[in-house]
Symmetry: C2
Subunit: 138 residues, 2 copies
Amino acid sequence: MDEREDLGAMLFRLGRDLLAMEQPILSRHELSMWAYAVLTALREGPTRTQAALAAGIGADKTRLIPVLDELQRRGLIEREPDPADRRVRLLGLTAAGRRLHRAVQEEIRAGEQRLLAGCPAQDREAFVRTLAALTARR
Amino acid sequence: MDEREDLGAMLFRLGRDLLAMEQPILSRHELSMWAYAVLTALREGPTRTQAALAAGIGADKTRLIPVLDELQRRGLIEREPDPADRRVRLLGLTAAGRRLHRAVQEEIRAGEQRLLAGCPAQDREAFVRTLAALTARR
DNA sequence: TATTGTTATACTCTATAACTATA
DNA sequence: TATAGTTATAGAGTATAACAATA
């Protein structure tokens, strides 16, 4: 048995550190973690249904609704019934939403660099690459 | 701005996958995640106070108490007042607790290998090493 | 009848604050 | 009075189930 800690425990702690780094940035822009996740998901392109969006970011569809309400109220997303099937809401970023997401993501990336700064560049690169491979959509 | 996802989002998903992998193992042994974390922490050696143990695994001291109650009831840990300061509880693993932890950890390590199996061995090694470095106790 | 989105509700997890026992 | 542990309670976050609108 290796001497290293369990992967789960290490991921838990690193995830918590990441969240602590992101929290002040997000709250400065009055965004919850889920609101930011929504903006990130919609940046890739509009989504056909709210349920698909929820599944995509690993959230429950019911808990997304107040988030979407707020983002719409602030003019950061568009959310209108699909003319072809009026049960469905088409979702997309507004220009303001796109701007806000870009600004926040820049700050978060800077924070990530700070967190990773202690490691050799080669390890850092392998770390991010492997993490991306392990979490790739299946 | 890179095209990769945010580190936080990737860690979140991978952490969730890890938890899903561990959950059936833990519940087969009737252990919660926190109970397993306690056994892991105590395996390194006995702890002087419950508060120190809680801080060590990143938990609140109040939420550890029912966990410790249960572990003690099952004879997996020792928990006795320090004769030198009877406010304090000395905590340690029993032989049964040590055995159970070892068995569970072996299953979890096997699950980790399965999760990492898709990556080149060199990346895998760098990933675990970097993760350990980033989460080292500061 | 099935599906999307919504609301209401219940449940779990977590932290805060009050209490006890020792010092 | 201060500290370790405990208990009680309230709050946040989450999921479950019922509901309305549309197909």
